[in-house]
Symmetry: C2
Subunit: 365 residues, 2 copies
């Protein structure tokens, strides 16, 4: 039996099955730095340490050892199917008959890195920046369309001492296609320590990036709060409604609202750059989505929109007014239609994402 | 302490750290079906089973229990950061002070499913087809650009009894933007069993797909061999060169080759639909990449190009002839320039991918 085993990024993230399969193996074949994470499992086994670039040899050696009657483990860091040894292995299996084998999945760098950053993932792309075997134009095309698709993007193998061009091109393509204010998480593992840093996309090109760094580029909705990188999923939150909300919507339902700027209001302009008072109270309240600038008042269960002027942008009002007028006719409708409202909010963020969102996060916090 | 824990798709794929954290917990909070995988770890703990859609309540409950002094574990299947509980959690943490928490990554469905199919992954996208909280247009846009980028695509939450439209649209968008012959892997877990099925993209719409199915759509290079779905990474393989290769390239280096069809050759047409004999012997031999039709002769270490006519397509010859003429001037150059040749081959496959590739895989094998 040949087991292609992913051992994750750190010893603690190895799976039960991976441990079992390593224990059962007679022969262990690995790129040598991976072995330090499983040193204690290697006693009494034949251990074949190989260098980078020997992928083909590692696989042929495994098959040779299996044919001799051994249980063989080929070790990949992370997951063996994501830039690991599985693809190389399967490219040659039809050379041989009667091979027994299995792939043991592991925790890949994207999810491991995300766990150290907070919760940056949603729909996403994983792209390797190594152009050793992949033409740069292919990598560039993937980055461009992943950026346009607004996928969160995890970059693997971003840079080596001699290979810097794909990373430079990635930075250029990303800022052409995504807001330079987008948060980017940078994760390194040094020994047992995980080191994270969050910057803005526009600063990415100047960061200290190595071969084993993982980079996670947020999407249009990603924000940073208390040092965590967060991509909201869009659930409706529970929070106290401001007291005046009902009073405002009473007038709204009666058609008695002031569209546009309400210069006569004693609070005007209650928000910086306020273009419209049409939704004096936001129909999406409480969104609990810091990407537009709001935040929780700590320990009060109150969502605070003071730093969010999104619903006061004329372009946003134009997108949502008809839906709200036609569908929200009583306070109960906010609850009944909550999923549609969440989707409307999300669609409007996408349509108006070139507006200057108030991404008021503090990178050093 | 609140631990947001991913337990993978099956008990055996849980990580050591996840097990430790569950053992340390006083209170376990989970969507109830996930608990069956960790039943044996629950003794003596307060277990709060919740239903689908209670995400917010689960998080608030966890915080309440943590404030009472408990170690709390919130359980997600797969990884908590990919459509799991992490995003919901981080959306509300700034409501509270002094919360201690950590995210424990797990094996996500894409890598778990890939391990059951073979090695289908390379640069990839993960996209959820649930439009409960995400507008369908947003999902459609992501699918379209991921398809154009030629990313391998893993779809999560593809379909429910009432929610079929996103899956239908996905199938339509994919066949508009990718070869309908592209292999697609379908993976379901039933109890402890993993059930896999491979079909062609054009057949995907008619497959039996459920909420917990994972779908993996290959890229331009993905092929099926011996029932495994394989996306080649592009390594140079070791194999015996056919004897006449050197003789052919001797003539090639002397400029003494027959461009186009060689009607006078006694073997013409040695391949079906042969348009060009310019590369009587393929400069990329042995590619070990079944996507263009080749295969290994079992137990002989010989790569067999009989069913690959790719390098005999005029369009392919037009793409590669200048490079090969200018850069390969002796047999040694095949080795010295092997990385450039691999990239040229890959770039040419992309440029000419609308040609009718000979994807001669047998889905039932």
């Amino acid at each position: 039996m040949i087991s292609l085993i992913g051992i994750g990024s750190k010893r603690e993230h190895i799976t039960l099955k991976a441990v079992d399969k390593i224990k059962e193996a007679d022969v262990i074949i690995a790129y040598y730095p991976y072995l330090e994470h499983i040193e204690d499992l290697l006693e009494g086994k034949e251990v074949l340490r190989r260098g980078m670039g020997d992928e083909m040899e590692r696989v042929e050696l495994a098959i040779e050892k299996e044919k001799e009657g051994n249980n063989v483990a080929i070790i990949s860091s992370g997951d063996p199917g994501i830039y690991g040894m599985a693809n190389v292995y399967f490219q040659i299996i039809d050379k041989y008959t009667d091979l027994e084998f299995e792939v043991i999945p592991g925790v890949t760098a994207a999810t491991y890195s995300a766990s150290a950053l907070g919760a940056p993932l949603h729909d996403m792309a994983i792209i390797s920046l190594s152009n050793l075997l992949t033409p740069l134009e292919e990598i560039e095309r993937k980055i461009k369309y992943a950026a346009i698709a607004d996928l969160v993007i995890a970059f693997y193998n971003p840079k080596s001492k001699t290979r810097t061009e794909p990373f430079e091109r990635a930075c250029e393509i990303l800022v052409e296609n995504r807001n330079p204010e987008t948060p980017v998480g940078i994760v390194k593992t040094e020994g047992t320590e995980t080191i994270t840093h969050i910057c803005k996309l526009g600063q990415l090109k100047d960061q200290d990036i190595h071969m084993s760094t993982t980079i996670i580029v947020g999407n249009s909705m990603t924000y940073v709060k208390k040092g965590h990188m967060i991509t909201p999923r869009g659930y409706k939150m529970n929070a106290k409604l401001p007291e005046q909300t009902e009073e405002f919507y009473e007038r709204f339902f009666n058609g008695d609202i002031q569209e546009g700027r309400n210069l006569e209001c004693e609070y005007f302009p209650c928000h910086d750059g306020q273009e419209s008072c049409t939704f004096c109270y936001c129909p999406f309240y409480p969104c609990a989505d810091g990407s537009t600038g709001g935040n929780w008042i700590t320990d009060k269960n109150v969502w605070n929109c003071k730093d969010c002027n999104w619903v006061h942008k004329q372009e946003v009002v134009d997108e949502i007014l008809d839906y709200v007028k036609d569908n929200i006719k009583s306070m109960d409708d906010f609850d009944k239609k909550k999923k549609d409202l969440l989707k409307l909010r999300r669609a409007t963020i996408y349509k108006t994402r070139d507006l200057d969102f108030n991404r008021n996060y503090d990178l050093d916090n």
